[in-house]
């Protein structure tokens, strides 16, 4: 087995890359080959979707980038921010579930990353208020997670990821459990955030329509072991808004992505 090598850039990457994976594989202790080898480059400020069937390793890839798991072999490079902010963090992570602490208020949930980084309360409060306002949560600061709807909980989760002002936002099927209207609204809010804050976003999803609507580039993955099978650029005039959803270009792109995805679902004919 190859020696696992993990490098972490300490300065701004000269090539303008936010994330770079080279020959990355992941084999779990159970012997299941979950991923790779895969190569993937994500430019700074880019919005990339990882699309594929369940078990194709897209979540695994995200966890490797976040540093939650170590790769079995290969290198994972994540650019560190040029200017270190106190309590800043290179990556923000949004899970499929809101993953909030039920025992405390929305404000304290958003405070968590800053508290763990020992940011002084005065500084922290201003940043928490800003993050809450950004996600339209200002009135719900003192509410408890269980008092909120699924969509609102996901907003809290996003606010928590944004409070450290990360350069890279990793999102693991964050809106999969929400109803369609709420998902569309959060899609639009996410696009606005991405445009305004110039973050790099890597978005894992199993929805063709969501991936095309959101991202500049769709990475299609196949399962067992997870590999990249296709890469499709979504060309459209920015900024996107709700009318993009019904445009001819959108439909054409969805068709192209669906076709690329079809071989990942054996036994189902491509249409």
């Amino acid at each position: 087995m190859a020696e696992p090598v993990v490098l972490s850039e300490t300065g701004p990457d000269p090539a303008g890359l936010a994330v770079s994976l080279r020959g990355v594989t992941k084999v779990y202790d159970s012997g299941v080959a979950a991923l790779g080898p895969i190569d993937l480059d994500v430019r700074k400020g880019e919005f990339v979707s990882l699309l594929g069937p369940s078990g194709c390793g897209k979540s695994t890839a995200l966890r490797l980038i976040a540093g939650l798991n170590a790769p079995t072999s290969g290198t994972v490079r994540v650019a560190r921010p040029a200017v270190e902010v106190s309590g800043g963090h290179a990556v923000g992570f949004v899970f499929q579930e809101p993953t909030l602490m039920p025992w405390t208020s929305v404000r304290e949930n958003v405070r968590l990353p800053l508290k763990l980084a020992h940011v002084p309360p005065g500084d922290a409060n201003a940043r928490i208020d800003a993050a809450l306002a950004q996600m339209g949560l200002a009135e719900f600061a003192e509410a408890y997670p269980r008092e909120l709807s699924g969509g609102m909980k996901m907003r809290v989760s996003l606010a928590r990821a944004l409070v450290t002002d990360p350069d890279i936002l990793l999102m693991d099927e964050p809106f999969a459990a929400l109803d369609e209207i709420t998902r569309f609204r959060l899609n639009n809010d996410l696009l606005t955030l991405w445009r305004d804050l110039r973050k790099t976003v890597i978005f894992v999803t199993h929805s063709v329509f969501e991936s095309v609507y959101l991202s500049q580039r769709v990475i299609v993955m196949t399962s067992r072991p997870g590999r990249i099978s296709a890469e499709i650029a979504v060309k459209t005039t920015e900024p996107r808004a709700e009318d993009f959803r019904t445009s001819v270009g959108y439909a054409a792109c969805c068709r192209e992505v669906s076709k690329a995805l079809a071989p990942s679902y054996p036994g189902q004919s491509a249409t």
Binding site: L68, H89, V91, T99, W103, T104, P145
Partner: protein, 278 residues
């Protein structure tokens, strides 16, 4: 018509949520108690049963009032023992669970002995303890032995029930072990710890009583259990009942206080403390 009405009424009964139903829930046990006491009194009076066989409730009550100076002193002693045993069980149980959670080595080496201590009947251990320890200490140790295991096992369960994604989040933000323990594991385990404490409260009383009875037969002590044993030897049956009544009341109060604490602490977030409708 009747065939239509019956299911409607049944449905009304099946969803007990009105304030009327709450009143019924409080009133029913009270009525049962009143009827039971009245029947007991009647049986004793009609059959002229002597008090040394079965005292009437009124006789028990009279004894309770007449012997209050002695009984209240004993009640205080037993309550103090229970409280000390409970405090030791709570602190010991939580502390041991925290240690086990930090070190698997400690857990694997010590946990079996915690189980052995728990499954060996305390009534059998008490006489031994009374040989080696002063009586007061022995009684507290007994209360501790019975009480600490539910706290230990519940806290361990709670500490291991932390949401995996939340744990991942703490890891992502570089939380230290202490931070993870303080901000994640302990709050997540709180409902389990409180559940353990609720069991331990009742068990500490049992432990104290068992040890007092064991000690009482050795000739010393002044707790309620000792009063029961002593009154038994003297055929002072009404006083036995009065002491038993006090023990029972003490158990109810301990349980009620712990349940109330648990409710107040968890009411804003935990399912167990929330109303059905929200």
């Amino acid at each position: 018509m009747t065939s239509l009405q019956t299911p409607l009424m049944a449905a009304g009964r099946a969803t007990p949520d009105g304030s009327g139903w709450r009143l019924v829930r409080v009133l029913l046990p009270v009525v049962v108690l009143a009827v039971g006491i009245a029947a007991w009194e009647l049986v004793v009076r009609l059959n002229n049963i002597p008090p040394y066989v079965l005292p009437a409730p009124s006789a028990v009550f009279v004894t309770l009032v007449a012997d209050w100076p002695v009984l209240s002193q004993s009640l205080l002693t037993t309550l103090l023992t229970t409280l000390e045993g409970f405090a030791a069980a709570a602190i010991g149980g939580v502390a041991l669970a925290l240690l086990f959670n930090q070190s698997k080595w400690l857990e694997y080496s010590l946990f079996p002995y915690a189980v052995i201590l728990q499954v060996t009947p305390v009534i059998a251990i008490a006489p031994l303890l009374l040989i080696y320890l002063s009586q007061q200490t022995a009684v507290i140790v007994c209360a501790w032995i019975v009480g600490f295991f539910p706290v230990l096992s519940n806290t361990t369960l709670g500490l291991n029930s932390v949401d995996r994604n939340l744990a991942g989040l703490f890891q992502l933000y570089g939380a230290s072990r202490l931070q993870t323990l303080r901000y994640l594991k302990l709050p997540a385990a709180l409902p389990f710890i409180l559940g353990g404490l609720r069991i331990a409260g009742g068990l500490s009383l049992i432990g104290a009583v068992v040890a007092e009875i064991a000690a009482g037969s050795a000739g010393a002590g002044s707790g309620l259990a000792y009063r029961i044993a002593e009154s038994g030897y003297r055929l002072n049956i009404p006083r036995m009942f009065a002491a038993l009544l006090l023990l029972s009341a003490a158990g109810i109060v301990i349980y009620g206080l712990l349940a109330l604490t648990s409710h107040l602490v968890l009411r804003r977030w935990h399912e167990s403390a929330l109303g059905k409708e929200n």
